[in-house]
Amino acid sequence: MIYDHILIRYGEISTKGKNRKGFIDKLKSNIKRALQEFKSIRVEADRDRMYVLLNGEDHKAVASKLTGIFGIQNFSPAMKTERDIEAVKESALAYVSDLSGISTFKINTRRSDKNYPYNTDEVNHILGGHILQNIEGISVNVKNPDLTLRVEIRKEAVYLSGEIIPGAGGLPVGNSGKAVLMLSGGIDSPVAGYLSMKRGLDLECVHFHSPPFTSERSKQKVLDLCRKLAAVSGRITLHIVPFTDIQKLIQKQIPENYTMTSTRRLMLRVADRIRENQKALAIVTGESLGQVASQTLESMFAINEATNTPVLRPLITMDKIDIMKIATEIDTLEISNRPYEDCCTVFTPANPKTKPKREKVNFYESFVDFNELVEQAVNGVETVTIYPEQKIEEGDGLDLF
């Protein structure tokens, strides 16, 4: 008895009519990429289901990868066993004891091979009895069981399945086009990135780096966050923008209580130029209405003037506590909590305007030309690609590890 394959059920994908093939192909390639470390597996897809043929790979390790892939409603590992009834009994017992939290079950047998020496009722009975005898505290419930163990008797073998593992839902990453994410290093922006990937967006990240005001460590923080996001999409492209000169000019030129507004407007302009270069169609931010001075409606109105590109704000109506919950789930909270100054915190004025006016900020900005600095920043971008399992580089080739 071995685990033979994993059956995958599509989520929303199945409602998409003619686009279905595109969705399935995308999901299939995302699954293949996520499972590339398992050399022997094969992935097969049809209109309604996808199958991961394990060919001896560990089904639990494969399952743990599948739970993170968007576009999967749920999936079920299936065990393959010899047709001999004793072997089927042992496998059924092993299948059930391998699961936790099962206190009621039923057996549902189907025979495609009608020559099998036992009929379906008999098989149900034999297997049910064997499980009842060998697992303490388990009982049969035919109406609403924790587990329906499906037994499929075919000519070549018998297949057992039934465990239903929930998938991540959503749409396959890359199916909804490309956007750039403004990634600061705080708690919100990685969550915004995660949620937009869940709706099928392919993301490239933009981070503003202002040495010496922000340190290598705050950059490292963003690299580590990207590593977590890359676990969802396979890889992440990060654009690190040299922002020091723009910030210096803002500090020099703009009245203190408007520096924050101007900073955000310029960040948006730079991000939009990068979006254009990367042929993306939207900008994603981690803004949540009213959370800080830059995220009031008035601030957004003043800042958003910098572009007419769609700005997607997946967190706009979420409470901080719910955002933190997701950050914990996707393992970014701890990284975000590292206490280094970042592009948003370092120049925060004591009393930023919570109700800035467009006319005023335009007036203040009109005395200097930011265009050239914006182009310089865009041209000075350092672009890196980050993979989920990327190893940390060690100390200068000293062969320490």
Binding site: S100, Q220, K391, I392, E393, G395, D396, L398, D399, F401
Partner: protein, 384 residues
């Protein structure tokens, strides 16, 4: 002069040259405090992160589950007392075995004598093994911790860790700690499959340096710190990290596990050779169990002989073995594990432990057998 033959690898191992090399280089070039904000600090922190990543990969756990400690004694104390401190309100009953390492047993003794905890000590059979059924029977509604070693340090018995893990998975409020100090690098253990919550390892048992270890803490499990201070290691263990020792440990674990893939069958062969050879000598009895025993520990007794005398007799030939676990052997030479297994004082007073590394050879085993034979005959004449 005889060539040095070292068969006391359960007490400690000789650090690999490559491991010392890493220790020196890190101490020399990366002396910054990982908590410092400047780039020297960042470089040290990076090494720490890389070590954590490598050790997590080798143990097949998450990076966030690897906590650096000063070694086995600290790991065991932190697991036992840290659980007791944080869950005392939930319950004050804990379960362990009669044959644990002193760093576990004494931690429990302190908790029961000074802090009113109730501790159940599970007895072992003549194989040195506890029964999972006994454990199940000992569980109570106020049980907060079960601590069972993986490989017994004196005789090498493997405890039924997976079976215990399966039982305890039905008791989510009971924390499961495993002392894996003797097993790491020698006997693989699937931490996730065995549903372990806390697990201790120590670097100097696998050719790393003294003063470094790991406590695995499963994500979601909480313990109280024993050291409070600068909030290093997620506040579970304050104190400036021993970066050089930790990097050295990461390398030592990798090398030892790679060594295992290549050399484990040789190790088993050498142990079998020792077992057969020593068993043939008149008056010896083997204490290590036949089945489910670690490949690197062989314990035998020479009833009627003081084992300390025997150890010194071998030492004259530059052969190093031990009487019982090093941690108890300075006090008195009686093996608590062997006593618990056979209830025979003469046998427990005369135990000898031979413990192997992947570097011990068949020729060395031959020398040990010959020397043992000679020593036993000689000592018998004197001591009768």
């Amino acid at each position: 002069m005889y060539k040095l033959i070292y068969f006391d690898n359960s007490a400690t191992t000789k650090p690999y040259k490559e491991v010392l090399d890493s220790f020196m280089k890190v101490s020399e070039n990366f002396f910054g405090n990982p908590s410092s904000l400047h780039s020297l600090g960042a470089a040290s922190e990076k090494l720490l992160s890389k070590s954590r990543q490598q050790i997590a990969d080798l143990l097949q756990v998450k990076e966030s589950e690897v906590l650096f400690t000063s070694g086995g004694t600290e790991g065991n104390n932190l697991a036992v007392k840290g659980t007791a401190l944080i869950h005392a309100k939930r319950g004050k009953h804990m379960i362990t075995t009669a044959v644990e390492h002193p760093s576990v047993l004494e931690a429990f003794r302190q908790l029961s004598e000074e802090f009113d905890f109730d501790v159940t000590y599970l007895e072992v059979d003549s194989q040195g093994r506890i029964s999972a059924k006994d454990l199940l029977r000992s569980l109570r509604s106020d049980t907060i911790l079960v601590s069972v070693m993986h490989v017994n340090n004196e005789v090498g018995t493997l405890q039924p860790i997976q079976e215990i893990g399966n039982i305890l998975s039905k008791y989510p409020k009971v924390i499961f700690h495993v002392d894996y100090v003797q097993g790491a690098g020698k006997v693989p253990l699937d931490i996730k499959k065995c549903k372990i919550d806390l697990l201790t390892i120590s670097a100097h048992k696998f050719h790393g340096l003294k003063g470094s270890g790991v406590l695995y803490i499963r994500d979601g499990v909480h313990i109280s710190p024993l050291f409070s201070g600068g909030s290093q290691e997620w506040k579970f263990r304050s104190g400036t990290e021993n970066v050089a020792g930790i990097v050295a440990m990461a390398k030592a674990l990798r090398m030892t596990m790679e060594m295992r893939d290549r050399e484990i069958s040789k190790m088993i062969k050498v142990r079998n050779q020792l077992k057969e050879g020593l068993n043939k000598i008149e008056g010896t009895v083997i204490n290590s169990p036949e089945k489910d025993s670690a490949p690197h520990i062989l314990n035998f007794s020479i009833p009627g002989l003081k084992s300390e005398v025997f150890v010194h007799a071998l030492e004259e030939k530059n052969i190093f073995v031990s009487t019982t676990s090093a941690c108890s052997s300075k006090r008195k030479t009686i093996s608590s594990t062997v006593l618990a297994m056979f209830k025979d004082e003469a046998r427990a007073e005369s135990t000898v432990r031979i413990s192997l590394s992947y570097h011990n050879t068949a020729a060395e085993a031959e020398s040990v057998i010959a020397a043992a034979k000679e020593a036993i005959i000689k000592l018998r004449e004197v001591m009768r």
